[in-house]
């Protein structure tokens, strides 16, 4: 429970709560990118350097901007009239609290014997070779999935003639 972990944890929880609570969706996405940055800092702290950097690049660099663009494109003319929380918001909140209490109890009650051995950060060569050896199939599938997602996203979001009459 080092101090740096505490600082980052407070930063993450604060920005996540803001991301889910703020009224203006753009503010939500900006605070969300602070959360992603905090999570990347966690990964770096845990020694998974490559994952931390990929997290920054993928989430802060791409997903945050994608979300912001989507918000820009769906800015309905009625503006922020629609309320921030849906009608049955309370039920959702209660379920979330219930989930958290169950998870928290599970984590705190079972003494998880975490080995605190000094872990050398995983090197890129290690990841590269394991990608090419044990995880070749997932790598190919991920390539396929990303291409399909790319084409699918474009086809769905493309302006077709019959929409714009």
């Amino acid at each position: 429970m080092s101090i740096s972990f505490l600082i980052i944890a407070v930063l993450i929880v604060g920005s996540t709560a803001a991301a889910m609570g703020l009224r203006n969706p753009i503010h939500c996405v900006l605070t969300l990118s602070i959360t992603f940055g905090g999570i990347a800092a966690l990964f770096l702290q845990l020694g998974a350097e490559f994952v931390g950097l990929t997290q920054i690049m993928v989430y802060v660099g791409a997903v945050a901007i994608l979300a912001v663009f989507a918000i820009m494109m769906t800015q309905s003319r009625r503006g922020l009239m629609l309320g921030t929380f849906s009608r049955n918001a309370l039920v959702g909140l209660l379920t979330a609290v219930a989930v958290f209490s169950v998870l928290g109890w599970a984590v705190l009650s079972q003494p998880v014997a975490g080995v605190t051995a000094a872990v050398s950060p995983v090197s890129v060569q290690q990841i590269g070779s394991s990608l090419m050896h044990e995880y070749v199939l997932p790598l190919e599938l991920i390539g396929l999935l990303l291409t399909a997602a790319l084409i699918g996203a474009i086809v769905i979001a493309m302006e077709r003639k019959e929409d714009t009459e």
Partner: protein, 391 residues
């Protein structure tokens, strides 16, 4: 061989560290290596603004600024004072927090990129195992800062400029990364220090820089084109096209925040050209083995200055690209060429060294170049212009 002139800064730092109590040792060594970077590159920014204005002047058959100081030497100082004393107007409807944070994030991201830049022999701030990936990760944060700037000033021009800037930066970041993947394949490591170490060896008097290989030369050109687009400069400065949308995303900024945007942009330019030097031009290694007596950091900054002059030269020459030309060029020429380049670099690696390998790869590069440039030219037939108005 660590002759003293080459390692003068490293020795200086250790000598200074001697005076620091060991408890604060780690922080002191971090500060001691960060501080010179924070001083040197803004100074380089000041020099570049002067160099740029004089260079552009000379290209257009006129003198550059020569009023302030002998050769206009105090012009950056004058600009700095002017931007400091200018009133900082924030539009009333602007979103004040985000409006303030945008330039801060931009400059922070620009400075972060210098963590992995090997400025001289063992003078890289931190030897990250995934150095190049760190650079691109931080580079992608800049787009978020640009959006924050554009959106928070609540003005049509800045929003339009921000959208254009982000579209351009995203579509040129892909080829930027792919152009550097080629070097990583060849060097076998993502760490910038290793990449430069691998290029610093010589056969006879010629260095093993990657730019002297066919795929390296093509990669260098693609990287520089993408770097120009990444930093919104010269032919790709559409987001701040003065004629159409006045000043793009930093239109509602004035005073020091405006200067911060320029600082961020120029620091981004230096960082990308620094990485281009590290990847293709052999970082701090001397161009000829006989010239290694000149210290390594001097070579790095000499190469950086030549690249800056290249940027200025290109800025003085090429007209601004239209938005669709810009996008077509990215997705239909630069990206396929980068992918071809990766294939050819793979081929290069598994062919046995010699002249045959050189010509085969060079030929294999020229063919797609011709084909793609023909394709790109074919698209230029004039069609009826269709307008789609915002409903």
């Amino acid at each position: 061989m660590t002759q003293t002139p080459d390692q003068v800064f490293v020795i200086l730092k250790h000598w200074l560290l001697g005076y620091v109590p060991t408890s604060v040792h780690a922080i002191a060594s971090a500060v001691l290596s960060i501080l010179p970077l924070m001083v040197v590159f803004p100074l380089l920014f000041a020099i570049t603004t002067l160099l740029e204005r004089k260079g552009l002047g000379r290209i257009q058959n006129r003198l550059g600024p020569n009023r302030t100081g002998p050769m206009g030497l105090w012009q950056p100082l004058a600009d700095g004072i002017k931007s400091l004393t200018k009133e900082d107007i924030v539009p009333f409807t602007a979103d004040h927090i985000v409006h303030f944070l945008a330039p801060v994030l931009l400059v922070v991201a620009a400075f972060l990129a210098y963590a992995v830049l090997p400025v001289g022999r063992n003078m890289a701030l931190v030897n990250l195992n995934a150095g190049v990936l760190f650079f691109f990760a931080v580079g992608s944060v800049v787009e978020l800062a640009v959006f924050m700037a554009g959106w928070s000033s609540r003005s049509k021009y800045s929003m339009l400029g921000a959208m254009r800037a982000i579209a351009q930066m995203i579509s040129y970041e892909v080829p930027l990364v792919l152009a550097s993947v080629v070097v990583i394949m060849q060097a076998g490591s993502l760490s910038t220090v290793d990449i430069v170490e691998r290029q610093a060896t010589y056969t006879g008097i010629f260095p093993h820089w990657y730019v002297f290989t066919p795929w390296g030369f093509l990669g260098f050109i693609l990287f520089m084109i993408a770097a120009t687009a990444e930093s919104n400069r010269s032919p790709f400065d559409l987001p701040e096209g003065e004629s159409e949308i006045i000043a793009g995303y930093y239109i509602e900024y004035s005073g020091f925040k405006f200067a911060l945007f320029f600082l961020g942009e120029y620091l981004g330019m230096f960082a990308t050209s620094g990485i281009a030097i590290t990847l293709f031009l052999g970082g701090w290694s001397a161009p000829l083995s006989v010239l290694t007596f000149i210290p390594s950091w001097a070579w790095f900054f000499l190469k950086l200055l030549t690249l800056i002059c290249m940027f200025i030269w290109v800025r003085g020459t090429l007209p601004r690209l239209r938005m669709d030309q810009l996008m077509n060029f990215a997705w239909e020429f630069i990206l396929p060429m980068a992918l071809f380049n990766m294939v050819i670099a793979g081929l290069w690696r598994f062919m046995n060294p010699g002249a045959v390998r050189w010509f085969v790869c060079a030929f294999l590069i020229l063919v797609p170049m011709f084909v793609l440039s023909a394709l790109l030219k074919r698209k230029k037939k004039l069609q009826l212009r269709t307008y789609s108005f915002a409903e």
